[in-house]
Symmetry: C2
Subunit: 214 residues, 2 copies
DNA sequence: TGTGAAACCAAACTGAACTCAGGTTTGCTT
DNA sequence: AAGCAAACCTGAGTTCAGTTTGGTTTCACA
């Protein structure tokens, strides 16, 4: 993800908004949201601390924006990956691959998302933060819905055995995003290998047959 | 989990340590670690804010202690559940069941653990916090090892097809704990049902056969 | 070259985590 | 029961990151 992926329509040409988001993604991804000083983000961009408030209402508002953009990307990527798959099984495999076809910056973004997802549970005091939070919740719901629909399509076509599609979707997502908790770019395992491994796991979860039940 | 589950050997009879931990588990579990005021915990216990520092070096030290005790419980529960299972398949099913056989307080504790696991990645400044963090990391490693050994046992016995046991263990754990992100006691789904669903998923992931590959 | 909006900043403020310098309670010893 | 050490607790602060205030600077465009 380049800096453009963090740019939104209403940013003027002089706007440092994307640069702030990029710096924040780096900081939050490296040492975590709480551990990063808001002023450190300002330093990296090369502006004073108070200039941040021209673009974001608060540090939390910035975090929520990062999360929303990450969720939006995931939603878009899912749709693109599954759009022209002929069968649900192929779409499933394609969707998992898409979930791991990310730039290093997007990996950071996913780690941030994963680590701070609990933030979406409780109401925010300020209006703009609450708006971002609601947007995030809608995107989460939409993404869960995407997977649910895919599963139901496969079940209806007889490709997958019948299961509760909502819980199955959540479980798949839970498995897929759990990788961001331990994956590090400098680790022993490449993202490609992880992607394949998880995809196979997902396929067995959804379409696999079970061994003797005790 | 009663208050005893939060008591440790070196607590005197007058110690409010377990009470503080119990109150903190409630607060952190309900509104999250960052959102709970340290003074709120003191209020619930019925002591002044500064009395907290007689027992914990900091709010983070308290959190890390809660996490360590939760991890310890998970480790113990796994060993108890899998100790006298004759085969790996039965042990796997038993281990997943054990992971969900929890009191409401332990559910909170697992939610806290899951939400703040990223805290274990970076070094802590203070000595006691760092000690708790190291203890947590060791427990995480031990729990991952427990699952890895179980998987290897099953593969060696021919019960499971061969897979990378370390990643598979992490994936299973990722799937299992992902439930705490969305599960709520007042939700539509009971923990029993979830447990069974996830157990079946785990069995298919580990021992299931895959459908036609693309 | 004058104007308005966007961008920016230094200094002051806020509130929650934390420290300090003691005071109080408890249980044990004699 | 008196003495006493350890454990326990507190009010009055300090600190520090995030935030607010009250402006000044920059720049596109008329």
């Amino acid at each position: 993800m380049s800096i453009e992926a963090l740019t939104e329509a209403d940013d003027g040409p002089r706007s440092k908004r994307p640069a702030i988001l990029a710096a924040a993604v780096e900081c939050f991804g490296e040492v975590g949201y709480e551990a990063t000083k808001w002023s450190e983000v300002a330093d990296r961009v090369g502006i004073g601390q108070t200039a941040l408030y021209h673009y974001f209402e608060s540090k939390a508002h910035c975090l929520l924006t990062i999360m929303r953009l990450g969720l939006r990307n995931s939603d878009v990527a899912f749709r693109a990956a599954t759009a022209e798959a002929p069968d649900a099984l192929g779409a499933l495999r394609s969707a998992v691959s898409a979930a791991y076809a990310l730039s290093p910056q997007e990996v950071h973004q996913n780690r941030i998302l994963q680590a701070n997802i609990a933030l979406l549970a409780n109401k925010r005091a300020s209006a703009r933060e609450e708006a971002e939070r609601q947007a995030c919740r809608e995107l989460v719901a939409r993404i869960e819905h995407n997977w649910t629909v895919l599963l139901e399509r496969g079940m209806a076509a007889g490709e997958f055995p019948r299961h509760d599609s909502v819980i199955m979707a959540r479980s798949l997502l839970g498995l897929i995003v759990s990788v961001w908790r331990w994956y590090r770019p400098d680790g022993s395992l490449e993202l490609d290998g992880i992607s394949e491994f998880i995809a196979d796991c997902c396929l067995r979860m959804v379409a696999g047959t079970q061994p003797a039940q005790r």
